[in-house]
């Protein structure tokens, strides 16, 4: 029987765990926290599938086309084919396992409009689709746990992969409560650890998704891709806690974007893009908001903000289908969106780039698979709303199938795993005995500096000078980081140098893509350059050097 180690228990990890068990394998599911705490529960809007129940002649082919167009042609087409044709089965399966999708008057799963798609294609569960999916998946995992085919362990943090002869045979994990370090041998490993949020300080997502696993994988020779493709969600609000997301469903259900021009509301998206209006793909909406505020200087109250208006929608409709928007605005802005427009501006939301996989979710290392936001294959230069939940479920499902099929004939020495484990334990011992010199910088300050560098140079529009400066600053930061005062927090201590390496790779990706495509807009190169760059950005760390190429 195959033993599969799954790292991360959001929707991709949970789905993979269930599918491995259903396929007859055994699972160890490791995560820093319970699934209820995962970023997946924050996904509001919905999940795309061309169910075609609205008489709009929707098809998997149209879903495929919209996804490729949204991603500006650098998505993995084979992967998107599978994604969009599996979508129907994915949503059916979710219904079967008990996800309480909102239904229409005919009892069919209801569909709403989402950005970049002309058909109603986004299935949803009121205002909390992600939460409802997690709820049903965790129940199923509970059953698998009770049947003993799944072992769900928390709070275990990933430290490193165990790789021998270019094949992954397990991972070393760290228990944050007890400081225990343990080796987990496996026939294959599935990584489902979410986006690289920590590089930017706080994003609209969870603080658990810090990007460390992706960073460490880069360090260990795993190929990453398209790191420069960062989705700025057009509508986030400024609050004391962080920039909070206002779901795309607000626009999908009729919300409008405007600023005041000549004393009157100017619905700029509707004027610039009459066909889709405020429901253009997210990259275009974010860039438009940027232009309105920065180039035209029309930001509300002279600030970087435009209005998102849903006040024309009936109050009951807002309370049922957009209740999270209402709650968030009341709670954090003391503003009632039924009466007043919401001041919004784009904020970092999703990473299209990450661990490169093929259409079967295999990485460049045998026995290592990746799924969900940490992985890169479906979304190209810009992800469509509603495709991330789909990508997470579908990715976990496919990764499970191929992880189960993975046959190894790797012969490794018995003491290999112990040696790797001892190395990690030694690192911990050195850290715990380390004297903190009085002039060392607190680690959180370096993290703040890292976030400020990344937010500045990888904003909606990027330029060569800022990117070059950032790269130099990151190189300097590497030297300070090893002396940082981590205040008795081992995990943040080992995380920091890896995150800086990942940040450098991201900046290099942005520097080398000398064109503008989707979410990557270069001031010096405002046009698409299909000849040179209708390709995937590939990043490999080799001989202490990050190699960038376009494939």
């Amino acid at each position: 029987m195959k033993n599969i180690l799954i790292i991360g228990s959001g929707i991709a990890g949970l789905t993979a765990a269930i599918k491995v068990c259903e396929g007859g394998g055994n699972v160890v599911l490791a995560s820093p926290a319970h699934s209820e705490r995962s970023q997946s529960v924050m996904a509001m809007g919905g999940i795309n599938a061309s169910l075609n129940t609205k008489g709009e002649n929707d098809s998997t082919h149209d879903h495929f086309k919209d996804t490729i167009n949204g991603g500006k042609g650098i998505n993995n087409e084979k992967a998107v084919k599978k994604l969009t044709s599996n979508a129907l089965n994915v949503v059916k399966w979710l219904g079967d396992i008990g996800v309480s999708f909102t239904r229409d008057e005919n009892g069919n799963i209801d569909l709403r409009n989402f950005g970049g798609q002309k058909h109603k294609r986004t299935a949803y569960a009121s205002a909390r689709t992600g939460k409802q999916i997690v709820s049903s998946l965790t129940a199923l995992c509970r059953k698998k746990e009770a049947e003993d085919s799944l072992k769900y362990i928390k709070p275990w943090r990933f430290l490193s992969l165990i790789i021998t002869n270019d094949e992954c045979i397990g991972a070393i994990l760290f228990n944050e409560n007890t400081n225990e370090i343990k080796a987990f041998e496996a026939d294959s490993v599935i990584v489902a650890t979410g986006g690289m949020n920590k590089l930017f300080g706080k994003t609209s997502g969870s603080t658990h998704n810090d990007g460390y696993v992706t960073a460490k994988l880069l360090e260990q020779g795993v190929e990453l891709a398209n790191l420069e493709m960062i989705q700025y969600h057009p509508t986030t609000i400024e609050t004391p806690i962080k920039r909070l997301l206002i779901t795309e469903a607000a626009r999908g259900e009729g919300g409008r974007l405007y600023v005041i021009k000549d004393g009157k509301p100017w619905y700029f998206m509707e004027e610039w893009y009459p066909e889709f209006g405020a429901l253009m793909p997210r990259d275009v909406v974010s860039q438009s908001i940027y232009k309105v505020c920065n180039d035209l200087d029309l930001g509300i109250d002279g600030k970087n903000q435009v209005y998102l208006d849903i006040s024309h929608l009936p109050d009951e409709f807002i309370m049922s289908k957009l209740d999270e928007v209402y709650k968030t605005c009341i709670r954090y802005l003391n503003l009632n969106p039924c009466n007043e427009p919401i001041p919004v501006y784009p904020g970092v939301h999703y990473f299209m780039g990450g661990i490169k996989t093929d259409e079967n979710h295999k990485t460049n290392i045998k026995g290592l698979f990746a799924a969900g936001e940490c992985s890169c294959q479906y979304h190209g230069a810009n992800r469509l709303g509603g495709n991330s939940l789909l990508g997470a479920v579908n990715g976990g499902w496919i990764a499970a199938e191929y992880a189960l099929n993975h046959e190894s004939n790797n012969q490794f020495e018995d003491n290999l795993i112990n040696n790797v484990l001892n190395e990690e334990k030694e690192k911990f011992d050195i850290w715990s005995k380390k004297d903190i010199s009085s002039n060392s910088v607190p680690l959180f300050k370096i993290e703040e500096n890292l976030a400020s560098i990344m937010n500045n140079s990888l904003s909606i529009y990027r330029n060569e000078k800022d990117l070059n400066n950032s790269y130099d600053e990151l190189c300097n930061m590497e030297k300070i980081a090893i002396k940082a005062d981590s205040r008795n927090d081992y995990y943040s201590y080992i995380r920091l140098p890896s995150l800086i390496l990942l940040a450098k790779a991201m900046v290099l990706a942005a520097l080398n893509r000398k064109e503008s495509r989707g979410s990557h807009q270069r001031v010096e190169y405002p046009d698409l350059d299909d000849e040179n760059f209708k390709k995937t950005t590939s990043l490999i760390f080799k001989d202490d050097n990050i190699e960038v190429s376009f494939k």
Partner: protein, 245 residues
């Protein structure tokens, strides 16, 4: 509004050490969530308590920072709340510019404000809280099923509950609301019966209906309504059958 606030935090190095109260002085914006307050205390060059001694950062858990994940539940002035949706300004009213933050009681403390909630999850596993069949779809039940799935597993209800204590037969509200959802979706009669029996033994027989759970639930789950429904489904039906014999 900026004022000086004394933040009193119940601290504990790990589960084996004794807990103690430590005071911090906070000068700054009051219109911030409690999580932001904790971040502000931690993210200083030197973290000093009110006596001016340098101390270790305060340990707390959080994930979503917007009331969607239930990770940050703590006692705020004695009441179980989410630290990311509770604002400082609303908590210092009559207490003379003081605020008291403590870890949840009834759970084992891991460090400072972090507790181990594993027992909640174990109860759900022990009491077979899942469906065996494909889910039944009944349009009239979807809204209820949706509401039951909103549970964050934050533990606020268990902390407030006068009947719940760790290790007891009575397992508290998470079992009740999960049971309602799964019974509503289950086609397998045997498992449905099992869920009802478990509900009777591990919830119905121990609940004295204080309904404090509903008062503190951050998701405003209609708990009273769901308990009545569950009682109708699993307790009264049986009782009627028995009385007929």
């Amino acid at each position: 509004m900026v004022e000086s606030v004394t933040v009193i935090i119940k601290r504990q190095k790990n589960k084996d050490e004794m807990s103690y109260l430590e005071k911090f002085e906070y000068d700054g914006d009051l219109n911030i969530p409690i999580i932001t307050l904790l971040e502000k205390i931690n993210n200083q060059d030197e973290i000093k308590n009110i006596e001016g001694n340098i101390v270790e950062p305060i340990k707390f858990s959080c994930s979503c920072l917007q009331g969607l994940c239930g990770d940050c539940g703590i006692l705020i002035n004695g009441l179980p709340k989410l630290a990311c949706t509770t604002f400082l300004i609303d908590e210092i009213g009559e207490s003379g510019n003081e605020i008291l933050l403590e870890p949840f009681p009834k759970f084992t403390v891991i460090a400072d404000l972090v507790v181990d909630k594993e027992e909640m999850y174990e109860s759900l596993k022990l009491l077979n809280q899942w469906i065996e069949s494909d889910a039944k779809v009944n349009l009239d039940n979807i809204q209820t099923e949706y509401e039951m799935s909103l549970c964050l597993m934050c533990g606020c209800c268990l902390v407030a509950c006068p009947n719940y204590s760790s290790g007891d037969l009575f397992k508290g509200v998470p079992v009740a609301i999960n049971s309602l959802k799964f019974i509503s979706q289950e086609k397998d009669k045997k498992h449905s019966k099992e869920l009802k029996n478990n509900y009777n033994h591990h919830f119905y027989s121990g609940c004295t209906k204080s309904l404090l759970c509903e008062d503190v639930c951050p998701m405003e789950i209609p708990i009273q309504r769901s308990i009545s429904k569950m009682n109708r489904l699993s307790v009264w039906k049986l009782w009627q059958l028995i009385s007929k014999i």
